[in-house]
C-alpha cells in the first residue's frame, strides 16, 4: 500500500520549520500525520535550512541567551520595525507562547550554541542553532520520523478542495502521478512566493528580474495562491518582504547567509550614478541590514556599490567573493563601472564633512558627518587609506509577507473573517499577520515555531475520532 492509499488525520503541506513543528505536535497528540515536502531530500526544509537563530521571550538568562528578554521589550522591538503594521493581540500571544520554545526544541533534538563570532548584539535576544538551520531541520525530520509521521518528498500540492471553509481533499502530484489526499484537517506551511519571479514581477515590475533569491527555489507560493483563490482572507502587502543587500555576484537562488556583505556601516554606499542615498551609519548593521535590500531595490538598476578603505579590513565578516581592489578611488570607480569624477566628488564631499571623533565600531560612536545630505551618523571615518575596496550590492529576498489571515489558534480566516473549521496555517504563509513590514533577526523562526505548534495542536483535535 502506497502512502497515498493510507488514511491520515492531518495533512501538513510544507516541510520547513513551521510544518515540522506542526507535524510533530499533531503526531504527539495522537494524530496520524502525512507531511508533504515539495523539494527533494537535499533541499528539504525550505528557507529554514538557511536560518541560524530564533528569538523567544525569556525572563532570565537561560544558558542559551545571556539575559532576560521579556514580553514588553519583544513587543516594542516588533512594533518599531513594523511601524505598527502588526496585530497586537496576535503578536503578544505569539510572544508569550514563545517562552517555552527553547526547551521544547531541545526536547526534540535541536541543539543550541553560545552566541559567538559575527553575531554582535543578538546574544541576549536570540538563540543560535548549533550547526545552523539545516541541523535543526535534520533534527526535526529525525524526530518526526521516529514518531511515525509519514514524509513524502517531491510532492507538489496542485489543488485544494475547500467547501464552505472546510478542507476536503488535496490533489498531489508525486513521481508524475496524481493522487487525491483526504484528511480531517489541513495545515498549510508552504512558505511565501519569493522564488516565483513572475509573481514578484506583478508587484515590482521589471525590477524583480534583478532580485536575488537568498533561499530555496521551491518557495513558489503555489499553495498560498490556491488558498487565496479558494476563499482565504489575504493579509499583508505583496511588495513587503524581508530583503537585505547582498553581494551582487551571489547565485540567483539559495545563496543563503554567506552572500552577506557586512561592511556598509564602515563605508559609503553609492548608486549607479555615483551618489549616496541613505545614512550608512544610522545604526548597528545587525539592526539595519534588513532595510538595505529595499533601499537598493529602489535604486536605478537595483544596484548599490559599497566602498571602504583599508581601515575597515578585518572589522566585518569575511565575504564569500573577494572585493574589487584599487589603489585610488578613481581606479575603484572604474572597476565598479561607475563614473570616476562623480565618485571622487562624492567621496571628497563626504571626507570633508566628517568630524573628528573616537572611532569605535562596537558602539554608536561619535564619528559623524556635518552638513552632508544624507548624513552618516556613526563610524564616519574619511575614506582615505588605500587600498580601496568595493562590492556590488543587489537586493536579496529572503521571504515575502503576503499571506493568509489566521486567528489565535492558527486557524485560517476566510475572506468574510470567519475561521476555517479545519485549516490551519503556519510560517511564512501567514507571517504577514504579525510582520506587516520590516524585520528583526530570528522573528521568522519565532512565527514558524509558535504558529506551527498551534496549527499542529488545532489540526490534531479534528483527527481524534
Amino acid at each position: 500500500m502506497t502512502v497515498f492509499e493510507q488514511s491520515f488525520d492531518v495533512l501538513v503541506v510544507g516541510g520547513g520549520n513551521a510544518g515540522l513543528c506542526a507535524a510533530i505536535t499533531a503526531r504527539e497528540a495522537g494524530a496520524r500525520v502525512l507531511l508533504l515536502e515539495s523539494a527533494p531530500y537535499f533541499y528539504r526544509g525550505g528557507n529554514s535550512r538557511h536560518t541560524r537563530n530564533l528569538r523567544y521571550m525569556h525572563d532570565a538568562a537561560d544558558g542559551i541567551m545571556t539575559g532576560p528578554y521579556r514580553e514588553d521589550e519583544f513587543w516594542d522591538d516588533l512594533l518599531r520595525v513594523t511601524k505598527g503594521k502588526t496585530d497586537e493581540p496576535l503578536a503578544r500571544m505569539m510572544i508569550r507562547t514563545s517562552a517555552d520554545l527553547g526547551s521544547w526544541m531541545m526536547a526534540r533534538g535541536v541543539r543550541f550554541q553560545p552566541s559567538l563570532g559575527g553575531t554582535l548584539h543578538l546574544g541576549r535576544t536570540n538563540a543560535f542553532f548549533l550547526g545552523g538551520g539545516k541541523a535543526l531541520v535534520n533534527a526535526y525530520y529525525r524526530k518526526a520520523e521516529a514518531l511515525g509521521v509519514a514524509v513524502v518528498y517531491e510532492a507538489e500540492v496542485t489543488d485544494l478542495a475547500i467547501e464552505d471553509g472546510r478542507f476536503v481533499s488535496a490533489e498531489v502530484v508525486h513521481a508524475g502521478e496524481r493522487h487525491s489526499v483526504r484528511a480531517s484537517a489541513l495545515v498549510v506551511a508552504a512558505g511565501g512566493f519569493e522564488a516565483n519571479i513572475p509573481w514578484l514581477r506583478e508587484h515590482w515590475g521589471e525590477a524583480a528580474d534583478n532580485f536575488i533569491i537568498r533561499g530555496t527555489p521551491y518557495n513558489q507560493g503555489h499553495v498560498l495562491r490556491l488558498l487565496l483563490e479558494r476563499g482565504a482572507m489575504q493579509v499583508g502587502d505583496p511588495r513587503q518582504c524581508h530583503a537585505v543587500a547582498i553581494d551582487g555576484r551571489a547565485p540567483k537562488f539559495d545563496g543563503g547567509i554567506c552572500t552577506r556583505v557586512d561592511c556598509v556601516a564602515l563605508g559609503l554606499v553609492l548608486n549607479r550614478h555615483g551618489l549616496r542615498f541613505y545614512d550608512e551609519g544610522e545604526d548597528f548593521w545587525p539592526k539595519r541590514y534588513a532595510i538595505w535590500g529595499r533601499l537598493v531595490a529602489q535604486q536605478p538598476g537595483q544596484v548599490g556599490y559599497v566602498l571602504i578603505d583599508s581601515k575597515a579590513v578585518g572589522k566585518f565578516m569575511p565575504t564569500v567573493f573577494p572585493a574589487l581592489q584599487a589603489a585610488s578611488i578613481r581606479e575603484l570607480a572604474g572597476k565598479l563601472e561607475l563614473d570616476p569624477d562623480t565618485v571622487e566628488a562624492t567621496v571628497t564631499a563626504y571626507n570633508s564633512a566628517t568630524r573628528p571623533g573616537t572611532f569605535d565600531w562596537t558602539v554608536l560612536d561619535d564619528c559623524r558627518t556635518e552638513g552632508l545630505d544624507p548624513p552618516k551618523s556613526h563610524w564616519a571615518l574619511p575614506i582615505d587609506t588605500p587600498p580601496y575596496y568595493g562590492y556590488l550590492l543587489r537586493p536579496g529576498i529572503t521571504f515575502t509577507y503576503l499571506g493568509v489571515g489566521v486567528d489565535a489558534r492558527a486557524r485560517v480566516l476566510m475572506a468574510d473573517g470567519t475561521p476555517s473549521d479545519n485549516i490551519a496555517a503556519a510560517g511564512e504563509i501567514m507571517a504577514g499577520n504579525v510582520l506587516g513590514e520590516g524585520y528583526i533577526a530570528g522573528i521568522g523562526m519565532t512565527i514558524g515555531s509558535v504558529f506551527g505548534r498551534l496549527a499542529g495542536k488545532e489540526a490534531a483535535t479534528h483527527g481524534a475520532h
Binding site: F129, G131, D254, M317
Partner: protein, 371 residues
Amino acid sequence: MALIDTVREAERLMTICNACRYCEGHCAVFPAMEMRLAFTEGDLSYLANLCHNCGACYAHCQYAPPHEFAVNVPVTLAELRAQSYQDYTWPPQMAGVFERNGLAVSLVTAASLSLFLLATALLVDPAVLFAVHADGDFYRIIPHDVMAGLFTAVSAYVVVAFAMGFRRFWQQTGESYASFGRPRPFLQAMRDSLTLRYLDGGAGDGCTYPTEAPSQSRRVYHHLTFYGFMLCFAATSAGTIYHYVFGWQAPYGYLSVPVVLGTTGGIGLLIGPAGLLWLKHKADPDAFGHGRRGMDTGFLALLFLTSLSGLLLLVLRETSAMGVLLAVHLGIVLGLFLTLPYGKFVHAIYRFAALVRYALERSRAAERPEA
C-alpha cells in the same frame, strides 16, 4: 598537481565557510578558521589536522552538493590531511608509502611474519618449537635478548621518525618549540585528545558518523582502541620493569600486572578497531569519501590482529601451538611497529600538535585586550 588542486579546493571551501560560520560550534576547525581572513598552505594543513572527520559540518551544510557551492569540508580536509602526512614523512623517501598504504602495510606485515616464521623454523629445533611448554616459556623459542633488542631498535627508529615528522609539522605552523611546551595550552590539548572532545558534536550528542544522526559510537570505539593500545603499552612497560627491576622472568601469571593490563587492553583492541571498521563500512561515502589508499583499514586491521594473536598466545601458551603463535604474534607486532610512522597512526602526532596550536591561538586571542 593533485596536491595543488586539493589546497585550492580547501582554500575555496574555507572562504565560503568563513563567510557562513554556522558550524563554529561543532569543533575547533571553524573557530580556528575564523581567526584568519586568508589561508596559507600551512594554515590549511593545520586546519586539516585539527579536523576529526566527525562529519557534522557536512550533514549540516546547506551548501553541500548538489548545491552549486559543492561544499564538502570533511572529504577535502581528509585528502589534505593525507597529503600532509606525506609531506611530513621522515625520511622523505618513505613518503610514497602513504600513496598505497593498505598495500604497503600488508607487504611489510607479510614480510615481518615470514621473517619470524622462517627464523624460528630454521633456528629453533622442531622438537622445541612444537613442544608443550608447561610454563609457557616464550624465551625457549626466541631468546629474550633477541626479542628485546629487535623491538628496542625498531621502537627507537619509530620515535625518531615521529619526532622528525612533528618537527616538520610544527615548523610549518611558524610556532616556536617553547610555545609547544607552554603548560596550559599543552594540558588543554591533552584534555581535548584524551576525551575526544571534538567527537562530541559540540553539544555532547556525539558525531554525525556513520549517519547524520548524532551518535557516540565512534567516540566509544576510538576510546576502546586508544586506551586499549595504551594498556597494552603499559603491560609491556610493566613486563620490562618486572624483568629488569625485579628480575622476574616471563611468562607471568594470569593475575599478574602485565597480563591483566595486556588482557584488558587486548580486549579493547579487539572491540575498538572492529567497531571502527564496522562504522567505516556503514559510513556514507559521499560524506566521508571512499577511503584513502586503505590507510585506515590497514592500521585498524593490524591493531585487531595484534590483539587477536596476542590473546590467542596467552590462552594457548601452554599448548604445542605456542611456538608458532609466538612467531606469528611477534611478526604482526613487528609489522605494526615498522608501519607506525607510515600509516594512520601518525594522525595522533599531528592532531595532538594541531590541538596544542589551537589552544595556543585561543589563549592568545583571550589575552588580547580588544574584544
